[in-house]
Amino acid sequence: MPEPTGVIHDIGYQRYTGPRLGRRHVFGALYLHGLRTAFGLGRTAKAKIFPWLVVGIVTVTAAALTAVRTQIGQVLLTYAQFADAMSWLVIFFVAVVAPELVSRDLRSGVLPLYFSRPLPRGDYALAKLAALVTALWLLLGGPQLVMFLGAAFTTKTGMRGVWNELLDLLPGLLYAGLWAVVFASVGLLVASLTGKRAFAAGGIVAVFLMTTPIVGTLSIMPSRTVNELAGLASPSTLVQGVGAWALRDWLLTGEQSAGVSVGRFGPVYAAAALLLVAGSIVLLLARYRKVATR
């Protein structure tokens, strides 16, 4: 038997002289980490169940809609209407993912480990927000893409048909983006207030769902102005209101009238949505200026 030739040397501690990446890269790394966390990637199997359940439901729905459309030749839901129809699932997705992104870090006390590194506090919050926005947009945009592909491959008018379909898809993706930005900024702000995930999830559902009865009550008041402004009271109807104003042609089809009639207050809805997002981000940043300083 030959003598062992390999010897293990303890080379001791090695100093690091290689590159240290800047703020943009660190932000990117945290963003990607957040996006993976949102879908439970790199996490336990338990963390994957819910996100992928929701992804499965929306994708199957999109596939079913596409199948029906190719069979009976009728568009049941436009791309933008699809986003509206999925709003409940979006809310539940936010309620699960937003606490996963921020409440968990608050709970485990890991924030001092982040904030003792060069990364500014605001970057932490914004990277998490960007990750949630992207996750929501993918959640709605992915199935829209499925619908588009289904329609594009079965179109009877050749390239023109595909082009027309694409012109329908783009506003749909834009509308999905609006859903994503509004729901992510409000949801993340609520989740950042508590380290208990169950409380955070409950709070998010409450903010999004408990406000709908208010809209319902306001929309049956005798005043038409009140009716038309009623949608402002809840994030879901606010987004639908903006959609009804800006994407009228894509959202309102023939016999179906939209759930929200905004009358001439469309710009008010747009301004309110903008204010809601901006306000949520300002509060989120303020929250992270204070949190875990002691």
């Binding site: 001791g12 501690y13 090695q14 100093r15 690091y16 290689g18 590159p19 240290r20 990446l21 800047g22 703020r23 890269h25 660190v26 790394a29 945290l30 980490h33 790199g42 996490r43 336990t44 963390a47 968990r104 870090d105 485990s108 006390g109 890991v110 001092p112 480990l113 982040y114 904030f115 003792s116 590194r117 060069p118 990364l119 500014p120 300083t293 002691r294």
Partner: protein, 304 residues
């Protein structure tokens, strides 16, 4: 180069609670022990050094940089181990330390390599792939130390690294800190409320109390000046004390013992001479290396 320098550093919370009061101290690279009772202002000082808290007044420099104006530059070169639990239970140590290495700006592959290196240096091998939630307190402390070490800082700030550890765990952690300070070439500020612990490993000792500096000096300077001889005789202790006092030796009674500061070898001769002249039965005469704790214990009342 001065490692850490503060000048009239003051921090008050809400204008009422004073955490640091007019603290001026400068320390050289090495292992620095920061001791003080709970609430003495140790954690506040560490957070100011990291730029996490802004001082109410006064100036501070870490590695020649000002953490109040350029916190990112300071934090890039400093590693911080917090006192409290700071680990998400469902991640493995390898994942967590790799992620935090990336947060310090290391490229992806380097982050993974250095994470396993750092975990190996603190003594975590195969268990690093298991979720942190199942770790013992000692292992968790090691993970916290590894994440502070992973980006190769020039200075480590360790807030109570031996907290919650059993005596064996304390010894292992202190040995590890000592190794980092001596073999790795990284300066360490280790903070503790247990003086006996840090004095074993550090070169410099900074003692604070109620946010004020008690003393900052090399540990050698503190202990050498305080070596004493303990004399015990079976009878005639009072006579011997009077005799030694007459010889201009500052004698102190401690129970059945007489404590005499050791100036040089001549002190031995004086004591032995006195014992022989009085013809007393000498029970014991030995040199006692004064613990720094006693130094403070005898100093504080006289200062107050």
């Amino acid at each position: 180069m001065t490692l850490i320098a503060t000048e009239s550093l003051t921090k008050t919370y809400g204008g009422r609670v004073t955490a640091l009061a007019d603290l001026t101290v400068a320390v050289e690279p090495g292992i620095i022990g920061l001791v003080g009772a709970n609430g003495a202002g140790k954690s506040t000082l560490i957070k100011i050094l990291l730029g996490l808290l802004a001082p109410t007044s006064g100036r501070v420099r870490v590695l020649g940089l000002d953490p109040t104006t350029d916190p990112a530059a300071v934090r890039a070169r400093v590693g911080y181990m917090p006192e409290h639990d700071a680990l998400p239970p469902d991640l493995s140590a390898a994942e967590l330390v790799t992620h935090l290495a990336r947060m310090s700006g290391l490229p992806r592959t380097v982050a993974r390599e250095r994470a396993s290196e750092a975990l190996r240096h603190v003594g975590l091998y195969e268990e690093r792939y298991r979720p942190v939630g199942g770790y013992s307190t000692g292992m968790k402390q090691r993970v916290k130390l590894a994440q502070a070490l992973v980006h190769d800082p020039d200075l480590l700030l360790l807030d109570e690294p031996t907290n919650g550890l059993d005596p064996a765990g304390r010894d292992a952690m202190l040995a590890l800190v000592h190794r980092i300070g001596t073999e790795f070439g990284i300066s360490v500020l280790v903070c503790s409320h247990l003086l006996g612990e840090v004095e074993r490993i550090c070169d410099t000792l900074v003692a604070i109390d109620g946010g004020r500096l008690l003393r900052a000096d090399h540990i050698a300077a503190m202990t050498s000046a305080t070596d004493v001889l303990a004399v015990e005789v079976s009878e005639g202790t009072d006579d011997l004390a009077a005799r030694l006092a007459a010889l201009d030796l500052p004698v102190r009674r401690e129970g059945r013992l007489l404590l005499v500061p050791l100036a040089d070898d001549g002190t031995y001769d004086l004591i032995l001479g006195a014992v022989a002249e009085l013809d007393l039965p000498l029970h014991r005469l030995d040199q006692r290396r004064h613990r720094v704790a006693e130094l403070f214990a005898t100093r504080e009342p006289s200062n107050a």
